[in-house]
């Protein structure tokens, strides 16, 4: 849906595609079988694991088949704060990313049309963060905002914050990192939508509605909806599952743990697979519901 | 499979070809024979099945039933790359990732012909584009691309060259010029050309034989003059030029002619120009064969006279003036008058009579839509 910016812009679909079931099968089957084995089977296996009960022999990390739906109750009640926090972070960061990206995408996609070279350059800069380690970028912010860094020293000396207070480890720091890391995922789909946007509509709009604010609300915004929806999905979903930014060695603290943090520790340290799995299944369920809403409103052809 | 290349082209035969697409039939029981070396045009409106016919001959589409024979050989089950046929596509379909020269040499290379580049260069020179050999297709104008597409097809000396509206994307002036060039090239190389077009002027100008297609079948086929002078169906009479058509039951019949009565006027057609000689028939005449008169001309039985009627529209088109005359109980009649300065100056609303020679009437085998037999 969103990454057309990497290739050329799609043209109209060609009519009269030949239909030869053998060729279709040969083209689609390998990829689909692969996804079946290594994407859908693991999801199914998560559901099975999420219902398992501790093995009778009682070793750590040993479970057997069961139908312990109460795992979900346990996971939900125990980790409600992390669940709520994950979705709160994701919501706030998505909104901020949208607010930051929209004018930027509009500038690149509409205003820079007359200067293709500059447009291409700006687009490269938008995706530039993809080419440098996501972890190192986050660590860079951590060091920039460290208590001894120039920014915090200035804030302390201006008396905006008390020396006993820190920026790192707060909700704000985590949301800042999440927003930063996912802005390109919002800008790109917005750009692809706005790039194809017919500016004559704006002229027609200002002809009919006169005020620029009204034109924006009645013409520009509705027409950029596909990009907004794509971008929102592409940003919200990975943020809800992320836990690196919130990690104690990155921008977070023990007070900023998210669903991912718990899945990681339950799975890799505590080896409580059923709880880790039921958390994952709950997260996935929310995401499938969001995607389902999108498909119902826009169909599946524009998904990819 | 070895491809049989005839130096002078081969004849093409379609036997009972039918093509069904999901939901509609594109071609029905199509029979067609094109002699070797002929310039043959398939003419018809969009959706009439002409492009489907071409694609079936090229092998890009498989017929639902029937046979395709090239040079007497059944190629119905032969794949496109094994047929001695080349196509000039409507959109030219030049390969954007190759130079012009490589485009032209493509077919030769595929068939492992010796010296492909030299032969390709010769073909480019034939279309006067030798100087552009190293350019890319995107760097050429539409007309130049069209000539490259032609060279790319011709260089293979196919038994049959298929042209799918090859001039459709060119502007009028370039189009007329290319028509002349195309015809000259066909005469020079002597190949069989099958040309698909919806432009009647183009078809009549270039082709030895024109087949007019409508709704998946051939309505009428023949030399351009014959088709124009004696259209046999209402569709052909209207698609190829313009016609005034009159429908009525046969009122009078002599040894050599038939007459119908329309709105009190007797409209006559020679028997040897009438396809249908009983019941309700349709008689037509071309607008340029008619003249109008300010008074009733009182001509003999070798003329048809209708009128009086009122001039309701006059159009100046340059070489001729077109008058639309509404005759009570007959309908509207169109008259073309050459713009040579000797026609009477006439105004809207004037009363006139229209006449033509009986020998210019033609009788159709069917009736125009809306006039079917009760």
């Amino acid at each position: 849906m969103a990454f057309a910016a990497f290739g050329s812009s799609p043209a109209k679909e060609h009519k009269s595609p030949t239909k030869s079931s053998k060729i279709v099968l040969a083209l689609l089957m390998p990829g689909l079988v692969y996804l079946g084995l290594f994407f859908f089977t693991p999801l199914f296996s998560l559901v099975v694991t999420s219902l398992e009960v501790p093995a009778a022999s009682g070793g750590i990390g040993e479970y057997e088949y069961g139908f312990a739906w109460e795992n979900y109750v346990t996971a939900f009640t125990t980790y409600l704060p992390q669940i709520l926090r994950s979705f709160m972070y994701a919501t706030i960061a998505t909104v901020i990313a949208l607010l930051i990206s929209y004018p930027l995408a509009y500038f690149i996609g509409v205003k820079l049309r007359t200067r293709p070279l500059l447009q291409r350059l700006m687009l490269v800069l938008v995706i530039a963060p993809f080419f440098i380690s996501f972890l190192l970028r986050t660590i860079a912010w951590k060091q920039i905002f460290s208590d001894g860094g120039a920014i915090m020293q200035t804030i302390y000396s201006l008396g905006l914050m008390d020396k006993s207070e820190h920026f790192l480890g707060t909700d704000a720091a985590v949301i800042f990192g999440l927003t930063y890391n996912f802005i390109p995922f919002m800008t790109l789909p917005l750009f692809t939508t706005l790039e194809r946007f017919d500016v004559r509509l704006l002229e027609a709009g200002s002809d009919l509605y006169a005020s620029p604010a009204k034109v924006f609300r009645k013409v520009t915004l509705p027409l950029s909806m596909p990009g907004i929806i794509s971008g929102t999905l592409l940003v919200f979903i990975p943020i809800a599952g992320d836990y690196v930014n919130a990690g104690q060695n990155f921008l977070g603290s023990s007070k900023t743990s998210m669903i991912g943090t718990i899945v990681d520790s339950e799975f890799l340290q505590t080896q409580d697979y059923p709880i880790a799995s039921s958390l994952s299944v709950m997260l996935m369920a929310v995401i499938v519901a969001l995607v389902g809403l999108y498909v119902r409103s826009s169909g599946t052809d524009d998904l990819l | 499979m070895a491809i049989d290349f005839k130096p002078t082209g081969a004849d093409l035969e379609l036997v009972n070809v039918r093509k069904d697409f999901p939901g509609f039939t594109a071609l029905q029981d199509m029979d067609l024979h094109i002699p070797a070396g002929e310039f043959f045009a398939l003419l018809g409106p969009s959706g009439c099945g002409k492009t489907t016919t071409l694609r079936i001959v090229a092998g890009l589409e498989e017929p639902t039933a029937g046979q395709v024979l090239i040079g007497g050989k059944d190629v119905t089950a032969t794949k496109p790359h094994e047929r001695p046929v080349n196509t000039v596509f409507q959109s030219y379909a030049l390969f954007p990732h190759m130079t012009i020269l490589e485009n032209v040499a493509f077919g030769l290379r595929q068939r492992k012909i010796e010296d492909p580049l030299k032969k390709a260069m010769d073909a480019l020179n034939l279309v006067e584009l030798g100087y552009a050999a190293e350019r890319r297709p995107q760097q050429l104008s539409g007309g130049q691309q069209q000539r490259v597409a032609l060279a790319r097809a011709l260089v293979n000396r196919p038994a049959l060259l298929l042209l799918d509206e090859p001039l459709g994307a060119l502007d009028l002036k370039l189009r007329r010029q290319m028509q002349i060039e195309l015809k000259a090239i066909q005469m020079e190389v002597g190949l069989t050309f099958l040309h698909v077009t919806h432009d009647q002027e183009e078809a009549m100008d270039m082709a030895d034989t024109v087949a007019v297609m409508n709704k998946g079948h051939i309505e009428q086929m023949g030399a351009p003059e014959a088709l124009y002078e004696r259209p046999k169906t209402a569709f052909v009479s209207k698609f190829l030029g313009q016609s005034n058509l009159f429908v009525g039951s046969i009122a009078d019949s002599s040894a050599s002619s038939l007459s119908i009565e329309v709105g009190g006027h007797k409209i006559t057609v020679p028997k040897d120009r009438a396809e249908k000689q009983t019941g309700k028939i349709c008689i037509g005449v071309r607008p340029e064969k008619t003249t109008f008169h300010r008074t009733n001309p009182k001509l003999g039985s070798d003329h048809v006279v209708v009128g009086p009627g009122e001039i309701i529209d006059i159009r100046f088109t340059g070489v001729s003036n077109q008058y639309l005359i509404d005759i009570p109980n007959v309908g509207e009649v169109t008259v073309f008058a050459q713009n040579v300065g000797i026609s009477p100056v006439i105004e809207l609303g004037e009363q006139v009579w229209v006449s033509w020679k009986v020998e210019h009437s033609f009788g159709l085998s069917d009736l125009p839509a809306g006039n079917e037999d009760e």
Binding site: F3, F6, P10, H14, L28, P42, I132 | I3, G59, H81
Partner: protein, 267 residues
């Protein structure tokens, strides 16, 4: 000429500031690859040196991790590109009833949080008794690269006029020759950008790798673990080098494309 007005400058100014903001950590990372941080952790500026660039492998585990990441990236990109290109061609060129289902099946991996996919695959491998290692990482990376390849190549297939392939068939090329001489070269730019995207996704992946790599060290894993005690400047050197290489490739193709378009537009 346009009239000068401060309102007209708001959007460009904002955009350039936003871009600058996006680039801050990149510049920071590159600058600190030149930090002379031999004695202490690489958190404070201590002087310029090129030592880290010329002696990256002084810390052998960084280079080992980098080698693994490159290997994993290349192999999973190869597999994902082949599978994804076939899927993209199939999806654009053929109409079939399960189309929307296939679209959905390809979209879901993109929409699945990494932690869910990581945990799911780890659970699957664990239950199947497959030990985590190089193979499991590659299998996992192909899953999330595949959809991105499909999206990128699909856009290119949509711009490819099927009549070009018909012209090839008409000019005596059999279906295999048509694919290699016409379809493939015309799709190549799309396939290359898909492969680059796939490689960078694989190279930068941490969460899914963390769940499925066992004892295999990758570059992001190295950085993640090192984050606890301070990341050495060698890691900055590697990230900077990869960044500069990638940005040069992308800039090169984009500028080239823009110049070509300009030249054609002038014709």
């Amino acid at each position: 000429m346009k009239r000068f007005s401060p309102g007209k400058l708001t959007l460009p100014t904002y955009s350039f500031l936003a871009m600058a903001f996006m680039l801050i950590p990149i510049v920071y990372t590159i600058v600190f690859s030149f930090n002379d941080s031999s004695q202490r952790t690489n958190t404070e500026w201590q002087g310029f040196t090129l030592d880290k660039w010329f002696g990256v492998c002084a810390k052998p585990d960084v280079c080992q991790a980098l080698g693994n990441s490159i290997f994993i990236g290349v192999v999973s990109t190869l597999i994902a590109t082949v599978l994804g290109t076939a899927l993209a061609i199939g999806l654009v060129r053929y109409r079939f009833r399960a189309r929307s289902l296939v679209n959905l099946a390809l979209f879901l991996p993109m929409a699945t949080p990494e932690v869910v996919l990581g945990a799911g695959l780890a659970g699957l491998f664990f239950n199947a008794g497959v030990g985590a290692g190089m193979t499991t990482v590659i299998i996992a990376h192909v899953v999330f690269c595949l959809s991105f390849v499909v999206v990128t190549v699909k856009a290119r297939v949509q711009t490819l006029d099927p009549v070009l392939e018909e012209a090839g068939r008409d000019l005596y090329a059999n279906p295999t020759q048509v694919f290699w001489k016409i379809t493939f070269p015309l799709l190549l730019p799309g396939i290359i950008s898909a492969a680059l995207l796939s490689f960078s996704l694989s190279f930068d992946d941490f969460i899914i790798t963390y769940f499925n790599s066992g004892s295999v060290e990758t570059f992001p894993k190295y950085v993640y673990v090192a984050a606890a005690r301070g990341v050495p400047a060698e890691a900055n050197v590697i990230a900077s080098a990869v960044f500069l290489a990638a940005i040069l490739i992308v800039l090169g193709t984009q500028i080239n494309g823009a110049i070509k378009r300009k030249r054609l537009a002038r014709k």
